[in-house]
Structures are given as C-alpha cells and as structure tokens.
Amino acid sequence: MVFSSLLFLFWFIPVFFTVYYLVPARLRNTALFLGSIVFYAWGEPSYLLLIFASIIVNWGAGVMMAWSCSDRHDMPRVRKLIFAAALIYDFGMLFVFKYTGFFVANINAVFGNILRDPGFTLPLGISFYTFQIASYIIDLYRGRIDAEKNILTLGTYLVMFPQLIAGPIVVYSQVSEKLHERRITWQAVSDGITIFVFGLASKVLIANNAGALWNDLEAIGYANISMPLAWLGVIAYTLQIYFDFNGYSLMAIGLGSMLGFTIPRNFDHPYISRSLTEFWRRWHITLSGWFREYVYIPLGGNRKGKIRTYVNLFIVWFLTGFWHGAGWNFICWGMFFFVFLTLEKSFLSGFLERHTVFSRIYSLLLIGLSWMIFAITDFTQLGVYMTRLFSPQAAADCRDAVYYLRNYGTVIVLGCIFSTPSASRWFDGLESKTARCGIVLILLFASVCFLADAAYNPFLYFRF
C-alpha cells in the first residue's frame, strides 16, 4: 500500500487509527504490528515470509547473544559467531534478492552465458529494513543497547508501517524507549497530521506533476528534444526526486508522530546547499548517518591518515551508490560524489566558502547532473541526453520547451519556492490557528482531487 492513495487515506487511516487509539496502551504494539502486516502484505504478500524470517532470526540472535555473555556464561566467541551469522543472514538476503540479477548479468557478459538469472523481484523495502535491523544487531554487539526479549516489540520496530518501505532509516536505539512506552498527545497528533498532509501534497501536487514532464521526455525520445527542454527536464527530475522522497519521509514522520513515535528528520532543504558535502548533510540524512555510523567510522573514518581516509570515503560512496540500485549507473552516481567530495575535502571547500554565487551554481549544477546519472540507467541514452544538454545545435528550435514551460512552469516555480526554507518558516510563523488549519485542509483537498484522477503515482524510492 502507498501513503498517497485513496485506499490508505480513506480506508486504512480511519480503520487503523480507530483501533490503535481505542485499544489499551499495552496492546498498541500488537495493533501496530498487525496493521503494518496488512499494510505491507497488501501489495506484496509473498515476501511477508522474508520479513517474518528476519524478525525471528534477529530476535533469536539477540537473545542468544545476551545469553552467551550473561551472568552465568562468558562465551565472547560464541557471541561473535552469532553476531556474524545474523549479519551474514541480513545482508545475504539483501544481496540475494537485490543483486543476484546484476551479478549474473555481468558474469555472463564476461564469461559467456554460464549462469541462469533466478529472476527475483525486489522485495518491497528490503534495502531499508535490512539497514534498520542491522543497526539493532550491530548496536547490540557493541553493547550500546540491550537485547529485546519480546519478539513482538522487535517485530513492531521492524515492520512499523510509516518507515518500513522507504525510510527514514530509524535505528533501533532511537525508538527503543518509545517501543516500550509512549504517550500520544493531541499536540503530537495535530503536528503529525500537518506534516503528513505537507508530505502528501509534496508527493501528489509537485513530485507527480514534475515527474510527468520527465516521463514525457523519455516518450518523445532524448534525441528529439531541444537544449532548453533538456535543461527543463533536469530541473523537473531534480524537483521530482526531492518532493517524492521528502514527501514520503514527511508522511512517515507525520504518521510516526500520530502513533506516538519521533521519527528523525530525513531532509533539510538540500537544494540550498553550497557544496556537495553540505548537500549530503541535508539529503537523506538517515542514510548518510547510517553509513557514517556503521561503515565509515568503523573503518577508521579520517583518523588513520590521509590515504586511509580517501579509501574509506571510496568504500562508503561505492556502497551508497550500489545501495541505490543494482546497476552500473548507480555505482557511477556514487563515484561521481566520491570524486567531488574528495575534491572539496582536499582544496575546493575553502573556495566555495568564499564565493557565494559560484558555490550555489556549482552545487545546483552538479546535483542536477548527478540526478541524470541516477535517472537514466542506460549509458548510451545518458550520452544522448548529455549531448542535448551541451550542444548548441540542439537549441535551434526551442518550441518544445515553450510548451513544457507553459504546462509545467507553475509546478516548477512552486517546487523551487518550496525547496527553500522560506515557505516552512512562513507557515511556522503563522499565528492564526484558522489559517494554519485552512492551509492543511486545502492541501488535503487538492491532493485528494489529484489522487481521484491519477493513474500516475509511483514512488521513486520504492525501487531501492
């Protein structure tokens, strides 16, 4: 099920929240667990088993790790073994279901057709929930948290519907307290609804419409578009992916708040960044945080000399790219950031610091181009697109850009405005309760209107 659907808004929300708010506090986790199972199984019943297996394996591993080094036993090697086995299971599943096809295709390309692709479809949300459950088992191993003895509590953490499918990646330590006891306040529910509706509107009103422009370009064929239209496409996709993903994250945060949880912020106006380093502090914050916490720092971070630092950065950005998709273009996309982050780290950042205008152009341009590597999975097509962007011949007849500017200009302008902090600052400063409430209702109404007529409604980040 997706948040931005009438099914979720008008069936799931009324039924689920009625049950959730009415059951006694001790049954809330059960309600949340069962509701999340329905939410997940609605679109993907077969992979439910994979989730159940993950819960059982990690819960069992946690309990056994606690048992192996407790008052009565002292078997650190057993503990280590269990930890390793659980990690191998978690990442093994991710590897098998997400990357088998990619490796089979590449091995076959080099050695001839020696392997058969089992053709797995990607289990919904596996990239996200693998990282979440790994945070539990790793933190447990490091002794930062205690093992969860109640399998339902751990299961609730893993399947919690707001963030199960596309993040934010909530590490266990952030919510463990709330998993055991949480209060639901009117204030939190009210704020949650407001955030949820903002997320819904981001997705339905801006991302979907900007995405329609981008999809048209593919249908027309990259070779047939003018240079201005190609640039319009870059802007449209840049806005689409932000409002799509941030919209999803906001909806998750809002729903979390309505449930009594505090889900961490995932985006902080990334497009106002003045360097790519800053961009990654503002974009998909929970993912970069996860990589820093569980890969970069354990590898030694920047504490082991210059060369090791760059090697570590390389590893992190290779993995970041590869996490986004089993394809060479995603690896290239990660490498693109590795190169520029390295340049910034070694000498560029000071220069960017001093030149405001240049640093903004530099950042937006590179971010936009990086999205092209991300969006166009075929390198030949990517080459065609790049040629359109930079060849003056493609600017001879720009009438197609006029058409798209007319039809999508408003969405693009709105997208640019809402990419800056000014709009949310203005809303937060609104004194009038009626005005705030009115804005939320108008956005909800407009989103419902678009949903009632929409056939086009995919979440980009579901592919990962």
Binding site: L6, L7, F17, G43, W186, S190, D216, D400, L444, C449
Partner: protein
C-alpha cells in the same frame, strides 16, 4: 467532556482530518457503487468479492485499490476540481489532452509506436496478396490537419513519416491505391471537419473524405444533401472524457437519413444506419452504425450491381452513409471484434471493391492488423 471539547478547539486539525477520512470511509460503505461514469464514458470497478485465490494471487487487492479510486465519494466533483486546478496553473493539458486554439482539444501522442510498423507491414502484405484492387484511405488526425491550432510546441505524432512508410510498404503492389485525404481535409480545415471534443472527424469531414474516395475509386459522387439532415447538440466526446477542464464548448453532431433496407449486425438486424436512441447517451458518436461491430452488412439493394468490403476503425462509421449511395451491399469489418477469416470473407464476392478506412493514430496504436493476413 469539557476537557475534550477544549482539545478539539485547541487542535481543530485533528478532528477535521480524522472526520474527513472517516466520512469518506462511511461514504464508500453507504453509497451504492456506480456502474458507469457518464463523464468519462467507461465502466467503473465495483467492490470486488473476497475469495481465497484472488487474495493469494493479489488480484483482489489490485481490484480493491482500483475500486477505491473509481468509487470514491464525490468522484466527479473531485476530478473536475483537479482539472480546474490544472487549468488554473496555466497548463493547456490534462491527462494527455491539450486545449488549442478555437476550443479544439488534441491528443498528445509523443512517438511512433512499435505497433505502427507491424500494422503498416500487414496492410502492405494484405494488398500484395489480395489479387484485386485495394483502396487504402488513411485519415490524418486533427492534430495533423489542424496543426496551426495546436498549443505552441506540443509534441505530435509524425503522421507524414508514417504515411511515407505506408507508401513504401505499398509501392511494390500494383493493386494498392492510397487515397490521399490530407489535402482536401487540410484545405477545408476551417469547416469544422473534426469534433472539438472527440477524436473523430465530423460528418462534414467524412463528406470531404468521401469526395476523395469517390474520385480515386471512380465512383459517381452523390449529393447527400438530398436526404433529411438532423442535428444533435451537446456532444462531449472522448477527448473531453479525459480533459474534463472548464469552459469546453460542446460539439454538434450532424447526420443524414440515408435509407437502407437492412443493417445486419452480428447479433441482430436493424433498418437504419443510425441508432437515434444512442444520441441520448454520453457516447453520442456511438450512434453511427450502432457502434463498432466485428462484422456488419448494410443492404441497400439499389440495383447498382456493385458491392464493397470495408475494413475500418470507428472513423468509417459516419462515412458509410455516404458510401451507401454508391453500393448495393457493404460488408463492414472491424478487425478488433472480427472472429472470422479475412481471406475467406473477401473470397465470398470476388467482384466487390475493397476499401480500408483508418485514421493514423489508430494505425499507430492498434494491434489487430495481423488479422488481415493471418488465416
């Protein structure tokens, strides 16, 4: 109680949000399902019945989600509001339909499809193997003829390239004759030859096409004006069903009472070419020839001594009243719904003329042309 009331006033969003969601939920449960959308001219998904196999293979969930979209309370109002929002942003387009000059709506088709090449090849093979003259009348769409009225820069299907491809596919067969209708339609484009809100040509547009066909096939061109003319108002066609924006001008349908002895449809018989009751519904163009049928035969027995086979899409439905004036019997075949063999069918009357009437957008999209040449 007092405390709850204070919270409700303090946090109005909470009550309003859950209230709206709950009310809509109740609406789904209480309101009977609509079977058919008049505005969009299509059948809607009903609430599906639960069954173990349909849940297991996911089809239940899929239909249920479609059901929630198509039966949402106030759907027509919501959908119209969406179209109005889009219009208010200055966009000329909604759901792939763009509004151009003179209130004309246009279908945005961005590229030649893979089907187009297969379809053109099938037409070429059919003409080569027919063993007699085959006339091919491919109508340009309103996008191509009314190109001046398009919103600036709108992407269009390259119909000229497809016409060239068709010409090349037919170049080898001496029996194949392409009837060029572009020139005559284009010269008369100010004469409302296409509906504003529908993808079809008008009865008047079909009249110009008839002139081109008559000239090419050597028919004695007749004047349809000698039959009684009628007008039907408030026609909102297929383009409108998708566009749904404000300030759209409805079309007027013209038709003539061309008498026939019998219209033999696949499941029944009628005695005229036009289903006047059909003008009462939303899909008014469907009144011509009682809509599309796999095979229907028009008997007009005027003693002319000439019969015709037409292979066609719905464009032909308002053209047939013209052709009836020149033939005794016309066998009309719509390959989409035709279950028989084309070669056996045309072997039934070896003296009859053969005419294909299609519009270019149909050739680009359809996938039934293989039936022309398969046995």
């Amino acid at each position: 109680m007092n405390k709850t009331l204070r919270y409700i006033i303090e946090y109005p969003v909470v009550v309003l949000f859950f209230g709206i969601c709950a009310a809509m939920f109740a609406g789904y449960l209480i309101c009977p399902d609509n079977e058919y959308s008049q505005m969009e001219n299509r059948f809607l998904q009903q609430r599906p019945a639960v069954s173990a196999p349909s849940v297991a293979d996911g089809s239940y969930m899929e239909s249920f989600e479609t059901y929630t979209n198509e039966q949402v309370p106030f759907r027509d109002i919501l959908v119209r509001c969406k179209a109005a929002f889009v219009w208010a942003t200055g966009s000329s387009e909604n759901n792939g339909i763009a509004r151009g000059q003179r209130g004309l709506l246009f279908d945005k088709t961005m590229a030649v499809s893979a089907n187009a090449h297969k379809n053109i090849a099938a037409i070429g093979d059919f003409a080569a193997g027919a063993g007699r003259d085959v006339y091919i009348a491919v109508a340009p769409t309103s996008v191509w003829v009314n190109a001046e009225d398009l919103p600036v820069g709108m992407p269009v299907l390259d119909e000229a390239a497809l016409a060239d491809e068709l010409g090349a596919a037919l170049a080898g067969s001496k029996n194949a004759h392409i009837i060029d209708m572009y020139d005559i339609l284009s010269e008369n484009r100010s004469d409302n030859i296409y509906y504003r809100t529908d993808h079809h040509w008008t009865t008047r547009g079909a009249g110009y096409a008839y002139a081109a066909i008559a000239e090419s096939m050597g028919l004695d061109r007749q004047d349809i004006g000698r039959y009684e003319r009628h007008e039907v108002y408030d026609f909102l066609g297929t383009f409108y069903a998708r566009y749904k924006g404000p300030f759209v001008l409805a079309d007027t349908i013209e038709y003539y009472d061309v008498p026939v002895d019998e219209l033999e449809l696949s499941d029944r018989s009628e005695h005229d070419l036009i289903d006047t009751a059909g003008f009462g519904g939303f899909d008014k163009y469907g009144a011509f020839m009682y809509g599309n049928d796999g095979k229907c035969v028009v008997h007009a027995d005027k003693g002319i001594g000439k019969n015709l086979y037409i292979f066609k899409d719905s464009y032909a439905n308002c053209l047939i009243p013209y052709l009836v004036m020149n033939y005794d019997n016309i066998t009309v075949i719509d390959l989409r719904y035709f279950g028989g063999s084309v070669s056996e069918e045309i072997a039934g009357d070896e003296d009859a003329d053969i005419l294909l009437v299609y519009n270019m957008s149909f050739i680009n999209d359809d996938n039934h042309f293989y039936k022309l040449v398969s046995r």
